[in-house]
């Protein structure tokens, strides 16, 4: 009983610590002064789910890095400030981080609205703002301290268009999430698809809080497409997949990579079957980075990781390598990001930044199709029409 209570106390203590900052206290924790990363992201508000997904990816990577002795004997830690993805709060957080000499780099925020409002502060203060979910084409134009490892839509959407063409689709209807991300993707996709000889017969943007798509889908149906292309996140993508048959639309669905999540299957149910998709990250991929990540993630959280977990994990791995090779001076980190090459990455395989655009090119891609409630690699079979 005594043992039990002391254990409980330790667990409670660890839990209490993790509320305030990074998870601490593991057996072979390196003893040096911690290297602190500032994270600005949503833990409450409408995007809270994504902040929660980040944390899982971060924590897993920290375990791994710190378990190997940290960076030159110093453990990595992060300080997560809840921004609710609200620009008024991200600017305050930015001032907090830039004036705290312990923070060596900033990660996030989630949405462009929130991240780009704070960019000017990071740029002027000379603290790297590293946005790993920021696909807005102007995000890294904020200055030479603004970097992103978000998969470039200029890379990803032509690949989706190529997949559509390989599947033999000629008349495409595009449904997109009407945010800066969805709008960028839709424009790039449409032009890529046209250059591959396909017709885009309908384009419909929808609001992030939309739940009902029946009337939208009637519009799509009347345009007579042979495929419905989704530029969606998993939650809205699942809603559309479930409603598509209810308006008598029998065409297959081809969805972009960001629907890739175990949650998509859960939310879409049977309607997920037959959905074509592609992903930068697929747990079944045999690459060692992927297998290492997936095995550890399943062991720790007892669930399959999704893309948001993977990008957060990748970011910590990348930063630990930058710190290791180039030190933890703020300017050195910026210079290091430009110089570092071939960082092992779940998303990119090997990540190298283009110092001009401050982005990474060449995300990995696996073509997928959902079969019997599971994402499986595409076997090359074209869909049987209707």
């Amino acid at each position: 009983m005594l043992v039990w209570s002391s254990l409980t106390r330790r667990v409670l203590f660890a839990a209490a610590l993790s509320v305030f900052a990074a998870p601490a206290a593991f057996a072979d924790e390196p003893k040096g002064e911690p290297i602190l990363l500032g994270v600005s992201g949503p833990l409450t508000g409408p995007n809270a789910q994504y902040g929660a997904q980040w944390k899982k990816g971060f924590d897993l990577a920290l375990d791994e890095v710190n378990g190997k002795g940290g960076v030159k004997g110093r453990p990595l830690q992060y300080q997560f400030e809840d921004s609710q993805a609200d620009p008024r709060q991200t600017v305050a957080i930015a001032q907090k981080f830039v004036s705290d000499p312990k923070i060596v780099v900033e990660l996030g925020d989630f949405s462009s609205t929130a991240s780009m409002a704070a960019s000017a502060i990071y740029q002027r203060a000379g603290l790297v703002q590293f946005g790993f979910t920021n696909s807005h084409p102007n995000f890294t134009k904020g200055g030479d301290y603004i970097w992103s490892s978000s998969v470039s839509q200029a890379d990803e959407t032509p690949r989706l268009a190529k997949y559509a063409s390989e599947l033999g689709f000629k008349k495409l209807a595009v449904l997109y999430l009407n945010t800066d991300w969805g709008r960028t993707s839709q424009t790039l996709f449409t032009s890529a698809a046209k250059s591959l000889g396909a017709d885009v017969v309908a384009v419909e943007g929808y609001q992030p809080d939309e739940k009902d798509f029946r009337s939208t889908l009637v519009r799509v149906r009347d345009a007579n497409p042979d495929v419905v292309v989704l530029i969606s996140y998993y939650a809205d993508g699942a809603l559309i997949a479930r409603q598509i048959r209810s308006v008598g639309l029998k065409t297959p669905i081809l969805a972009n990579g960001s629907i890739y999540s175990p949650k998509f299957i859960e939310l879409a149910g049977d309607a997920a079957n037959g959905v074509f998709s592609e992903t930068n990250f697929f747990p079944g991929e045999p690459r060692p980075e992927v297998q290492n990540f997936v095995t550890k993630f399943r062991a720790r959280y007892n669930e399959d990781p999704d893309t948001f977990n993977a990008v957060a994990y990748d970011t910590i791995v990348l930063m630990s390598q930058v710190f290791d090779k180039f030190g933890t001076d703020r300017a050195a980190i910026r210079d290091g990001l430009a110089k570092i090459t071939d960082v092992p990455s779940v998303i990119f395989g090997k990540a190298t930044f283009d110092p001009q655009t401050r982005r990474v090119a060449g995300a990995r891609a696996v073509y997928l199709v959902v079969k019997d409630g599971k994402f499986t690699p595409w076997d090359g079979a074209k869909p049987t029409t209707n």
Binding site: V19, D82, T113, D180, R183, E210, A238
Partner: protein
Amino acid sequence: MNSFIDYTINGLVVGNIYALLAVGLALIFGVANLINFAHGSVYTIGAYVGCAAITFLRTPLPLTILVVAVPCGALGALIERVALRPLQGRARIAPLLATIGLSFVLDQLVQLVASPNPRALPADLPDWRLNVGGGSIGPMDLLIAGVGLASAGLLYGFLRFTKLGYAVRATAQDRDAARQMGVNVDAVNSAVFAIASALGGVSGLLVGMYYNHIDPTMSFQATLKGVVAVVIGGVGNVPGAIVGSLLLGLTESYGVALFGTTYRNLFAFALLILFLVLLPNGLFGGRKAVEAEPLTGTFIAPSRALRAPAWLIAAAALAAFALPFGWPSPYLLQTLTNAWLAGLLALSLTLVAGTAGQMSFGHAGLLAIGGYASALLATDWGVSPLVSVPVAGALTSVIGTALVFPAFRLRGHYIAIATLAIGEIVGLVILNWESLTHGAMGVSGIPPLSAFGFEATSARAVYWLTLAALVAFALLQARLSSSHIGRTLRALRDDEVAARAHGVEVARYKALAFGFAGFGAGISGAISAHLYTYLNNQTFDSQLSLLAVTMATLGGMGNILGAILGALALVGLPEAFRFAAEYRILIYGLVLLALVRFRPQGLLGTA
């Protein structure tokens, strides 16, 4: 033609779903004369309770409905007893704010318990579909329609033929008279909240099953659509709520058919405004409904304002100006800068809502107009911020006043709903008017504030600038309030009929108040735009409008110092509770509830 049938069916299907929530809202509105913003939270809780019952207990559907209805009904009665009954007889803004605070608390509790991830809520229903037109409807559609109609029918019968129903109607008509006739008004209220909330919980369950999707943030949009449907149907009218919901669903569906999906909510809110202007009693409200709104200014708590001595105010202002010399952290300066910008917003709101009595729930729309005006002038037309910021203020003043103009003849809750809708419309127009506003891409690369070659980029410079703007506006507004204009505005707030009888051109004075208020809010939005360097349609969202209302109420409606204090508190509180990360919205909601309960006239009292 075939598709026309489909759009009609789809409109009815969606209307069906809105109706489930609207019926409960209408019932509460009818009896307690209150838009219950917490109703959506009960709906969320119902969905989660149902999800837990199905996952852990594997309950069949009829039992699940019961398992959801009972605790949600109890929760409704609890809300009424603990949060709303103590506010009886207080200004009507108090219970309204209490329900907003409650919705924060309840939504956040759901998120803490169930995680923010969306969940699937599978329905165990047979897998057949009925072909209608080109599409089909399933058993869930019929079940929802059945529950909606049955509950409306039962409620109608209950209200018309039972003794308690008789008491409910009496209370709805005249609470005081009912009490004098021996009706236990509290018990009636309690029963109404329990019934409506049980229904709300069940609707959350059914809608969650329908979409196979529940998440902790589903409440706000649901409440919003429910309120629209209720107003269209005629407030407090249960069958009206159903017809209103169906009409709303149809309008949205035809809107999508004609113009595309991104215009959907624009149609919903335009329909609302149309009804408020042309038929404020709704389809079934009759003539009585508007009369039930008080003729005197009891929407806002009357009280004696606390007066701070002039030397104290001057000293505080000086201290604020001197603060940057003490080398505080840039974080503190930035937080205070945010507070000063919020203060401009609160000043603007406290003038129209407090001094002129025109509650506005869409004030963030003014920030958006100002922000976009200045940002677009500075980026697309190359205008210097020195010019673009004041021009943005003037534009906001004109556009904002023009937008609210049709709502001038509304009172109390109605103007609150109308302005809420106008705020949403501004955001939707910004999203859809791509050629001007760049749509969802937003405006990036907005230059920092600058004048004569000097760029205000440091935390100190921006701090001084925003503080100076705030102080200037506060002084102007103080002058305005103490002039004959301020006196006239307060007169029409306290009794519009009497003011008109004394020859006051009511619309002209309201326009004056909105014009001045729009200028201040526009300047705040414009400065924010240059501060953030990036704007999109989500930068100034409806949550910010609610925050503005809270700030003005907290400080004391119409109270200039109060507004600034309220802004300082509400920007500062979440920052102060930053260490509590996931819990801070919860704390914020609880603080709001406590304030409304114990000091509804605000910290400094209404002026």
